[in-house]
């Protein structure tokens, strides 16, 4: 009974907030409606008994959505509340795709012959999760971690035009980094002698 109440109290708002993502005309509102939806999902995961995963969903999604909000508005100094814009693009295609995916998933749920439960849930699901990730799948996780890290470094290297030589001079001897944030514009301005 209580489980049902909690389930619907989280599932209802999750779906409603997800719908609102596409109803809002402001990117900030859409982003935070998505966050609200994901927080409810995090609560549902906790209800499943997976405390760690649920709380981590809350933690990661909050940070992710806060950052995504920035990328969505990308220093648009016009708060999008001022500048209504639709969150819907490619309406027909999107409708077909999402409808198709929904039908596929629903069919999968209904048609799969689900196996009966064997064994008991672990006493400490967090520990079980850690052991299954770090035990048999250690190699996978290590590879994955390295690959992700390499991706991050590579993207940053590709994205920035400035390297350490721009920051610390050709002989890397500069006492302080000449960063643009300090009013320099990427080495174009000569510091020290020449003046403005």
């Amino acid at each position: 009974m209580l489980d049902d109440v909690v389930f619907w109290a989280l599932a209802g708002p999750a779906v409603a907030a997800a719908v609102m993502v596409f109803r809002f005309a402001s990117m900030a509102r859409a982003t935070y409606a998505l966050l609200a939806s994901l927080l409810c999902v995090g609560g549902l995961v906790v209800r499943l008994g997976l405390d760690y995963l649920g709380v981590v969903v809350v933690l990661m999604m909050t940070i992710e959505m806060a950052l995504m909000g920035v990328f969505m508005v990308m220093f648009m100094m016009n708060p999008a509340g001022l500048m209504p814009m639709s969150m819907l693009h490619n309406r027909r295609g999107a409708a077909v795709i999402s409808g198709g995916v929904f039908v596929l998933l629903a069919a999968g749920v209904l048609l799969t012959p689900w196996p009966r439960r064997r064994g008991e849930p672990a006493a400490d699901p967090t520990k079980a999760l850690g052991e299954s990730l770090m035990g048999p799948h250690m190699l996978t996780m290590m590879t994955l971690g390295l690959a992700l890290f390499a991706t991050i470094v590579a993207t940053v290297v590709l994205a920035t035009r400035r390297g350490r030589y721009d920051r610390f001079g050709d002989d890397l001897r500069a006492r302080r980094a000449g960063d643009r944030g300090d009013g320099g514009d990427g080495g174009a301005r000569v510091r020290g002698g020449a003046g403005p």
Binding site: M74, F75, M76, M77, N78, L82, M83, R161, R176, G178, R180, G181, D182, G183, G184, D185, G186, R191, G192, G193, A194, G195, P196
Partner: protein, 445 residues
Amino acid sequence: MGLRDVLLRIGAGHPAVLLACLPGATETRLAVEAGLRRRGWPVAASPAAASALVVVGAAGAADEEWVEGLWRQIPSPKARSAVAGAYDVEAALDTLVRPAAAPVPGDGGEHSADHDGPGGHADQGGHRDHDGHDDHDGHGGDDGHGGHGGHDDHDDHDGHGGHDGRDGHDDHGGHGDHGEHHGHGGVVAGLPMAGRADDRDGLRLDRLHLPLGPGLADWPAGLVLDVALQGDVVQHAGVRPLPPPAPGGLPYWDEPWLRAARGAHVPRGTAARRRCAAHLDSAARLLAVSGWPDPAARARRLRDAVLGGAPAREWSAELGRLVRRVRRSRVLRGLTAGLGALPAAGARRFGVTGPALAADGDAYDRLLVWLDDAVRCAAEADDDRPLRPYDRDGPRGRLGGPRAPSDALLDALPELLRGAEFASARVIVASLDPDLDEVGAVVRG
């Protein structure tokens, strides 16, 4: 209403005061700051944080508008008073407290305690603060501004006292930002949309034109910078031309030297004290803008002790402690070094003299020059010999030339601000600390 009245009474007893400092009123500002400190009233950083407005100095016609803008933005209940001279500070501050708690009967609960006679109520039309419904327009509505579009209120709002009289942003079109178009849709909700322009990384990002000042805290009185911001990066900055200075007294910080030049007897100690206090005032601003309120407050207290005429032995030890503390802070150095680098060669080209030239470096170097100079002046604070009439080295540079020292500082500003982030821009302005009192004809002596 009983509880609310009690709250209002408590609130009115300790208002957070927003200062609207007008150029030419440095002495008054110092007196007001000292008065607020004695009473323990906080100085608000924005109209929203304030419950009282003190207009420091005599407002001319040009100032009326932004001061009214500030006043409109302060949430009620609020009180207001004006201080024309250093002598009536206490009385003016008292009026902020006295009748504020008395609500106007039968006025729909408006608790505005506006004690300023003339002009105070001039355009309150759009701003009726009815109890219980809080959706009044914090910008003061548009009703009072028949002549302008509503967007001017927006500017006014952002800069905390921009100038309503400015007509849109189109006058910035010619600053080399090609293809800048104003907005995806021009004006929305009465506010101009930000345009777009290439940023420093070659991305096309929104660019917003914004006036900074004159109502910002720890900001040179009267200075208005028109900046173009992308994110919080200043793409372009321009000093808004000042209205001609009102004929009046000498600029406060330069007064001893100018009077000596005119043949008056001025003791060297007076000049030394004035220079020491001017540097402490500037340093306090720079420290406050850098987010270090503790030594900033000490510098201000010392400044008032120096000007108050206390013998140097009473405060020179504390001055030494303050200077050592600031000099020792490697964090402060790490945060301000490299900001607003103005090498001596460049400084000379702008005609900069005084500490900013002597510093031959960045914001941190200028701070050190101020502090060292302040210590040096402390040694001469009790010197009774007369100031030589040809001694023209004022706190901000050489006086008596065709242009005031601060003119040169203002000329140097836009170049230094370009590409700086907002916080760095504040540090750079504070590290030059131009004194707009001396900009104008009077300094030529």
